[in-house]
């Protein structure tokens, strides 16, 4: 584990855990602060990329989600097949995939709205069965892609209804906290039908936070939002992440996943990979150093061949040299020394990084190719 400020260790979120308190402390919502600020969390102006992975186990020694060989079929159509993964308490888990990959169906299955065809799952410590549905649903929340608000009701009336459905004893307090958390206190008496799409999404998030869920499922939370509203939602998710709320985020916005998630899974009916974005890059792509020098080297082979951690090299048509390396941090100083010894004027030596988008496209393209064959 690295930076504790970025990912404070804490008890798992669960009913009763004060999720909203943390939101008020974060970034854009700090003007509502009436509590002690969190140490060194910084989400204003966009969520910081995640650099750490939280522990997988909660205090009970169990992950928040355990999915084993889960499959869902609708007749002959397979929605998702043989999916297995675990999500730890306090983890933000990105669930990526193209349209129709089975992401939403997976979320609905884990939310007990849909019965799995085979396999098993444990959500917030409870096995997914028809009988356990109400108990699981009491411990989780889902924010669907469409906010699903009662448009003829006010913001507060919408939240009151859901506080009643969750049987919250301190409903008024929780509603106030949720509204403060999403910075909508002054819009509490506005009809939801009069709100913009971004504001409706925030109301939906407030609704999802009402019961302090042990697992918060966010299904394409920024779908159809403009960049400003998207950033607001990202900030909210990031502030939840800072406090260790377990979030299961389905998205096909790769920059969103890369920025917000500790780990990601890529689903295309079957689960293709699970891991931290950096790990996936390493698994799927050779690591490169890109070397730029003022003038082309006379004999590049003499400079690069035999250097530690340099596996191969090539010159790109535009001029830079691309060195395949096993460990860029170890290879770079040796490369620099070799270039200096060869009398080259070094302009830059940089690791050529693949984005999560590269990982995603590689896997999805492989699937397309496999289907063609």
């Amino acid at each position: 584990m690295g930076d504790d400020a970025a990912m404070p260790r804490r008890a798992p979120s669960r009913p009763g855990h004060d999720v909203m308190r943390s939101l008020r402390s974060a970034g854009a919502f700090r003007q509502h602060l009436e509590i002690t600020p969190e140490p060194a969390t910084q989400v204003a102006g966009g969520a910081d990329p995640v650099t750490d992975t939280p522990p997988l186990d909660g205090p009970e020694g169990k992950p928040a989600l355990v999915v084993e060989h889960l499959t869902k079929r609708f007749g002959d159509r397979v929605a998702f097949d043989d999916v297995s993964f675990e999500v730890g308490y306090g983890e933000v888990f990105g669930f990526l995939g193209p349209n129709g990959a089975g992401k939403t169906t997976t979320v609905r299955t884990l939310g007990t709205l849909i019965a799995p065809s085979s396999g098993s799952a444990i959500v917030a410590g409870i096995p997914v069965t028809a009988k356990n549905g109400p108990a699981i649903r009491a411990r989780i929340s889902l924010m669907p892609e469409s906010p699903g608000l009662y448009l003829r009701l006010t913001v507060a009336e919408n939240l009151k209804c859901f506080a009643g459905l969750y049987q919250l004893a301190d409903a008024r307090y929780r509603i106030d906290r949720a509204l403060q958390a999403v910075n909508l206190t002054d819009r509490a008496n506005d009809l939801c039908g009069s709100l913009s799409k971004g504001l409706r999404q925030r109301v939906a998030l407030a609704r999802a936070l009402l019961n302090d869920p042990a697992v918060l499922f966010l299904d394409e939370p920024t779908s159809g939002l403009d960049p400003v509203a998207t950033r607001e939602v990202h900030d909210l998710i990031a502030s939840l992440r800072e406090r260790g709320v377990t979030i299961f985020l389905t998205t096909h916005r790769l920059e969103e996943a890369e920025r917000l998630c500790h780990r990601v899974a890529i689903l295309n009916t079957t689960l293709r990979v699970v891991g931290r974005p950096a790990e996936l890059r390493e698994q799927l792509f050779t690591r490169y150093l890109e070397v730029r020098v003022r003038a082309a080297l006379g004999d590049p082979g003499r400079v690069f061949n035999g250097l530690p951690d340099v596996d191969s090299w090539a010159q790109e048509p535009s001029g830079p040299y691309r060195l395949a390396v096993s460990d860029p941090d170890a290879a770079a100083p040796a490369v620099a020394r070799a270039l200096v010894n060869a009398g080259a004027d070094i302009l830059s030596i940089a690791e050529s990084r693949h984005s999560l988008e590269d990982v995603y496209l590689k896997l999805v393209d492989e699937d397309v190719e496999a289907k063609r064959r």
Binding site: F74, A135, R137, P144, G148, K160, C161, A163, L165, Y166
Partner: protein
């Protein structure tokens, strides 16, 4: 987790708040009662001293039948909207992901239709009785206030509403289109009215025993209707359109 009247209440209150601001619901709740208070009043006031006994029966029977159209038709339109309407608005999934049981959801929805319907139906009937007492010919008034007629109205109003509600919700749970659901709902509300019509027109003489017997039968049908609706309320089908 057991049945919770708290969750029923949450759905009930939400529905009533929604109705208050829904122009379609307001119009439905105003139009039918207005229509069915004007038409029977006209029937009643058409009766004069020279009206024959047979004709009097016909006028009164028709008037009372109009009254019972309110608990049959008003809830059918609202109930037929209640599930498919939520699906169309995208509000069903957030509700179903809460710990609510299907029975709680259905009872909340049904009560939200039943309570205003009964209020309106009895209010309209009260107005009709007032008009009869003040403006109608004495013969017509005494026919309206006949015990068997009052009993039919009082007993069959909630029972007809119950039938219409369960039929409407059943149709709503299986429909993909609000308008089609409402049209089917109105059609489904009509069959029990046939028996009531026969009694209103004295084709079947509404003795106390017969009225109670038929009311008991309708109560049984309502109970079976509730069981059937609860059984066909399938979260997976409602969310995905596919049976689990």
């Amino acid at each position: 987790m057991s049945f919770s009247w708290g969750r029923v209440g949450a759905i009930f209150r939400k529905e009533l708040r929604d109705y208050r601001r829904n122009r379609f619901v307001i119009l439905t709740m105003a139009f039918f009662p207005l229509l069915f208070v004007i038409l029977p009043t006209i029937q009643l006031l058409l009766v004069n001293a020279s009206t024959s006994s047979a004709k009097l029966d016909s006028h009164i029977g028709l008037s009372l039948l109009y009254m019972l159209m309110i608990p049959a038709m008003v809830p059918s339109v609202l109930a037929a909207y209640c599930v498919v309407g939520e699906r169309e608005q995208g509000t069903l999934e957030p509700v179903l992901i809460t710990p609510i049981h299907r029975e709680e959801f259905l009872v909340g929805k049904a009560l939200a239709v039943l309570v205003p319907t009964l209020g309106i139906a009895y209010l309209v009937f009260g107005i009709f009785l007032g008009v009869a007492a003040i403006f109608a010919q004495p013969g017509a008034a005494s026919a309206v206030f006949e015990g068997s007629h009052l009993l039919v109205q009082l007993l069959f109003t909630p029972l007809l509403a119950g039938w219409s509600i369960w039929a409407g919700i059943a149709i709503s749970a299986r429909s993909a289109d609000v308008r089609a659901a409402q049209q089917l709902g109105v059609l489904a509300s009509l069959p029990p009215l046939v028996i009531v019509a026969l009694m209103s027109f004295n084709v079947i003489v509404p003795t106390l025993g017969l009225v109670l017997g038929l009311a008991g039968a309708l109560l049984l049908v309502d109970a079976l209707g509730w069981r059937a609706v609860a059984a066909m309320f399938d979260r997976e089908r409602l969310i995905t359109g596919t049976r689990s």
